[in-house]
Amino acid sequence: MSTTEHSDYIDSDTGKMGMWLFLFTELFLFGGLFIVYAVMRTKYPEDFHQAALELNAFIGATNTVVLLVSSMTVAMSLTAIQKNKPNIAIGLIFITLILAGVFMMNKYFEWGHKFSLHLYPGSDVMKTLPHGEIMFFGLYFMMTGLHALHVIIGGILLTIVMFKLKSGKINQEHYLLQENGALYWHLVDLIWIFLFPLLYLIT
Amino acid sequence: METAFSGASNLAEAVDRAFIFIFSISFIITIAISVLMIYIVIHFSRKKVKNPKQFTGNTKLEIAWTIIPLIIVLMMFYYGKVGFTPMREVPPDAMPITAIGRMWAWSFDYGSGKISKDLVVPLNRNVRMNLLSMDVNHGLFIPAFRVKEDVIPGYKNYLWFRPIVKGEFDVYCTDYCGLAHSGMTAKVIVVDSLDFEKWLVDLKATGNIPDLPGLTVLKGNGCLTCHSLDGSKIIGPSFKGLYGSKRVVITDQGEKTVDAFDDYIKRSILDPNAEVVKGFNKGLMQPYKDVIKGEDLDKIVDYFRKSSEQK
């Protein structure tokens, strides 16, 4: 693109506003699932109760803590770059990525366990369950699956941020991308804050 | 005889009143707006007006054309609600009939072993239709009665009416349900009470043929909408000469030839998509596993065997 092309010269408020609007759409994306959850829960309270007992609240709680801590580390990395400490910022983002990895590992074992019990959509065991329980597991896989996808996307975004921090493209003066990456990561956390009680806690 | 707009049930009058109210207002305002526009275009045309006035608004007018339409629409809402409310309040003495919708035929179950493909109802008796779907969404629509409700699987929807005119009226399916959606029609036949009682106990008159119980089952389940008895191709293969014939079918494993005896016929009813006769489409027929039970299956097979032997 030549210099006369309309260029992306985006100031921080503009960029941040765009990000927030995008987060709104993400909220409504999950919102649709929450509506389904709410309706189905009122339809099959007993089955949901039974099915939720199958989930391991301990793994859920661990993952909650992991995500909350990671949320703090991204927030701190922003503080670091604002204070012109790029190395600390990189370190904190790195910790965040590790935590994201831990989260995904947990998720992997959790799902793997469910699969080994033949508790996955369409399985023979699943077909014998009462309607509400099938629904619960359907929602469980859809919601956590979509959430895990967001963890991965967030992870990729933060990796990019980390490399740009290293190369100095993100610095004390220009850190819009990092801000937006952090916002996205917090959204991932925010959604989990609701998923955790709805799926694991309330039985 | 049926005319376009005359209602044939107790519910029609209130509905038509709502129609008339809304249409009259709409008509008057639409005409007024059109006339005003034509007047403006002519009277204030550029040829005549060289010096347009430059006013920008008028609060009183704005309030007027907020409040007046508000009142009008609230009245429309009121008429609509008044016409609708009785539709959900079924009188306790209503005679229950189950309307069964399936791709692509209606059948009406009177409970007493009487199943009919047309809806025969007595004049001036309250009738409650319980709506039951065997597969996908359908919609039970009787225009002359001004009633319509969707027939949704897993839901217990209902409607009711009291026929007030004798005659034959159309029944349509108004929820898109696939290939022969537009063919999913039936008749409502409103008859005198006496005739109705006679009809109800006469199991022979509407398809219940004691010597061919299998045919009764086929008719009752709407099979004949898609499968002909005379060899013509409708949506599925014809039943003519089925028993004992050789069938080329497509399975997940590929093509093979089978002999159409008891097992094959039962399989094709319970799980029609496992083996699809070559030249026909998979997925058009839903499994009848939960619909046609053991004894009826035997009756059907029996019927096929007998009709093949006759030839």
């Binding site: 503080t79 204070k83 917090h186 806690l201 | -």
Partner: protein, 94 residues
């Protein structure tokens, strides 16, 4: 393109927020154990909403953003709540 007029939230603030969030998480895990019956869902959701509000205000810096953005965020949550309520006008009265 510069971000200078942005508020900088200190490390200790972030840490405090995390601690509060962890306490709330523990509370809600424990609270469920007590079985409030019909209120379990409500209790869990209220605690979750408080947590979400904290994340929004501090981690996502809404506290330091302009009024417009704050209005938008609350509007969006309000809108979603209304949609859920309206859906339940159907399901609740069936």
């Amino acid at each position: 393109m510069k971000n200078h007029d942005n508020h900088i939230s200190s490390y200790s603030l972030n840490l405090t927020v995390l601690l509060i969030l962890l306490v709330l998480t523990t509370t809600s895990v424990l609270a469920i154990k007590f079985h409030f019956g019909a209120f379990t869902v409500a209790v869990a959701l209220i605690i979750a909403s408080v947590k979400a509000a904290i994340v929004l205000t501090y981690f996502m810096h809404l506290k330091f953003e302009n009024l417009l953005l704050r209005l938008m965020v609350s509007g969006v949550f309000l809108l979603f709540a209304i949609v859920v309520v309206i859906t339940f006008i159907d399901y609740y009265f069936r």
